[in-house]
Symmetry: C2
Subunit: 482 residues, 2 copies
């Protein structure tokens, strides 16, 4: 179980005063204090952890966010920013003495320029909402987390979200041009702007993926891209996970870049087929979904090349979608994979590590061995092309020992990722989930310097506390002591 | 004239002790204290400003750099990092109480991988030295500052250096994969790595162009690129600078990306022709040098397209190089432009601002008007394709009033750049030269946050002091008081 810092008694004791102060800043029904209405905010997509917040406030403008932050800083109140609450690493988990700042009311599209291929939107616009706004003109916003119907662009920026189609188009960081971010002092910083290499310091790198540690993003400028003429998906089924992993590495090494290259192992294939009826190969140990895009001719050339590579790995079967409907059915199974696994196991932990694609066969074999060692089932469904693993570890949350083992299994997988040259997280972020594994990835001086940069933005460590950085000692927050 | 902070008397008074301490860390002849041998370090490429340092130390390893920084921190000694000293913004200007850390002995190529298209080199390797190492295999390192024969890659990273061919290949930031940087505490941080989106935090953006404010870079991993089959240059001469500026904008808007697109006005054409005998058009008010690359057929197609665009702007003449020798002669004039202008004016200040290319005609006209208002000649020679201006303001350094006017003229040009949506610096950095203009580019909260980040790396402001951030008050250093 994850440790949370002790709440500040002086903040808990002044709850009514704090609610009144927030109501003065955000009039109407934008401040929530009633337990029943607070309940939806007690957890996020990582539902293993729950904690009711002190209050929730729903600002409608950058000015209100600035006023709330100034008020919280002046009163020593911790703050947890929240988009749609779809974080899979507990990035939006509240604390008992924290005010949750919910961004869902800041949902306006501020500007779209097809000439400059960009959109300026408020942080509470959903990921898919951007594409919906521009698809009539043949454009789209590329990163596509599975939660794209609900998740908000501000959260995408804070977690540097990915998605199945990031293999070709990159993750959030590669599609982000600028942000407006409010510091804990209520100052508004403009970082980046309407084109690459905008004037000013190149701070998008420290802001993107900062998980709410440095400030609250209220406006986002993203690139929009012209959609390809069409897409087509194919399936390839293999006799073992290692062989499928080797096929992935061969495709990537060939220089062909599919728009997506997804991997499912046997447990996942069966769970998804039962749900989506997509004609998945039930006799396979592992299956790849490979999508290409372009004109009909380009699709043919790319699919021919990929089929030729897959053929070298003794596939059980290969099937190319012949219609948009067939492609959609193939994707329906994949997009519903997490839910489908939920139907075969009472609970699961979704891990999120990255590895060099050349290490896929080795790492998949080790995960299988660990599954036996821990006595817990695992389903693998992930973005194979960019080496972004998502092992789903199946366990029973009502059995404390089972949960403890699942957490230890997950930690071992992530350590293995780092060992082979990969990373603790691909697209879900560190949050509370991987916080205590940060020393696996970073040296003590690196972590110390990261804490100092955090302190340079948030000297009292009020912003999204207990996330990203390991707590030190008995529940006290580690403020940069170095 | 630029203000420098007062030296610390306690440091000046302990000079012998400090020299002895440094000699214990860097044995042999790596510590310089004799005035005659210190003299070459009193200035850099911005020769208008001079100041002798306390001492110079020449480390040979990352470990020595770490030991020197720990020693300086423990003794409250300021530190000025220096590569080849070619900075055009005074980035390597010493202070009387500062130790200069010269990186020229760290000049080893550590690793070259043609498969992964990267080179790992020590910070003191010259820019051209990287290309020399890999050109036998048909590769090169893309950014090419005019000083590339001398300037060092560590300095390139710290100033985010550019060059004529950055139009196609990007500046240092776009060709950098990772750095090893030593903090003022002597800790070694590894940022980025052997591929894009390496594991770990995306801190390359705050390190690149940080001008020695955050730490000292000792190792650099850069991308190397496969060289094109061939290059060819052409000249196009126009009746006015505004019309030439409009032609630049039209070429860039067409979607053709030349590998270089350089601009020279009349004073510059005449100065360079006298030196290079390249057959420059002496009857023109402005001239473009346009280079394309690829196979012979690609070169023909690209040059045809560019000639067609130039033809719409009533050119006086156009000439396409027919041989490698002719291309080289065209470039010889451009590469020697700063020296050539030095032959027609006792002194000049080289400005370095960027603007959107659409603003070229307007900004060039305003620079011409300001030249009349200030009564000082100006020669324009710059990277027009990416809107990176280099007006050379001609003046007489022996005439204090002339120098004062030249500085004011330069500041007005840079303010104009920011006004039209550009930036104070394109590739030379802020240094001491543009330090006091930072509030033109950034708001007070933005500067305050930048100072806090600086303090998070360098709490006592010992690293490359008096650069980048405006001094506050009477010569005292502004440490982040916010």
């Amino acid at each position: 179980m994850i440790a949370l810092p002790l709440p500040k008694p002086e903040v808990l004791g002044r709850r009514n005063e704090i609610l009144a102060g927030l109501r003065a800043l955000v009039p109407g029904d934008g401040v929530i204090g009633e337990p029943l209405r607070l309940r939806p905010y007690e957890t996020d997509g990582l539902s293993a952890y729950r904690q009711m917040p002190l209050a929730v406030v729903l600002p409608s403008s950058t000015e209100q966010v600035a006023a709330i932050l100034r008020f919280c800083r002046d009163n020593g109140v911790r703050v947890v920013p929240r988009g749609a609450g779809t974080s899979l690493s507990g990035g939006a988990l509240p604390l008992a003495d924290a005010v949750v700042i919910g961004m869902m009311r800041m949902n306006r599209i501020l500007e779209v320029s097809f000439e400059d291929r960009l959109a300026v939107v408020e942080a509470g616009v959903t990921n898919l909402g951007i594409t919906k706004e521009v698809e009539g003109q043949g454009f789209f916003y590329a990163p596509d987390p599975s939660s794209q119907l609900a998740c908000m662009i501000g959260g995408n920026v804070m977690m540097n979200s990915g998605g199945a189609h990031c293999l070709k188009y990159g993750v959030t960081a590669n599609n982000l041009l600028g942000v407006k971010i409010v510091t804990v002092d209520g100052d508004v910083l403009e970082i980046g702007g309407g084109h690459l290499d905008a004037a000013g310091l190149d701070w998008l790198g420290i802001i993107t993926g900062s998980e709410g540690q440095l400030g609250i993003v209220t406006e986002v400028t993203v690139r929009i891209l012209r959609a390809a003429e069409g897409q087509r998906a194919m399936l390839a089924a293999f006799r073992s996970t290692e062989v499928a992993g080797a096929a992935v590495d061969a495709i990537m090494a060939s220089g062909v870049i599919p728009v997506a290259l997804e991997f499912m192992d046997r447990p996942c294939i069966h769970a998804c087929e039962a749900f989506a009826h997509a004609g998945y190969p039930l006799d396979a140990e592992a299956m790849l979904i490979i999508e290409v895009e372009g004109s009909a001719e380009e699709q043919d050339v790319l699919l021919d090349g990929i089929r030729g590579i897959c053929a070298r790995f003794d596939p059980i079967s290969m099937r190319v979608a012949t219609s948009a409907e067939e492609s959609a059915a193939i994707w329906k199974g994949r997009k519903g994979a997490f839910g489908a696994v939920g139907r075969i196991s009472p609970d699961y932990l979704c891990m999120d590590g990255t590895i060099p694609t050349g290490e896929l066969p080795h790492v998949l074999r080790r995960i299988g061995e660990m599954s036996e060692e821990y006595g817990l089932g695992v389903a693998n469904v992930f973005h194979a092309g960019d080496g972004n693993l998502h092992p789903l570890i199946m366990f029973d949350a009502n059995d404390a020992e089972s949960f403890r083992k699942a957490e230890a299994f997950g930690a071992d997988i992530l350590k293995l990722c780092v060992e082979v040259g990969g990373c603790l997280t691909g697209e879900h972020g560190v949050g509370v989930e991987k916080r205590d594994l940060m020393p696996v990835q970073f040296t003590a001086p690196e972590l110390a310097q990261q804490r100092r940069v955090k302190s340079a933005f948030d000297p009292d460590w009020l912003l999204n506390p207990a996330k990203v950085f390991p707590l030190e000692g008995n529940g006290a927050l580690s403020v940069a002591a170095e």
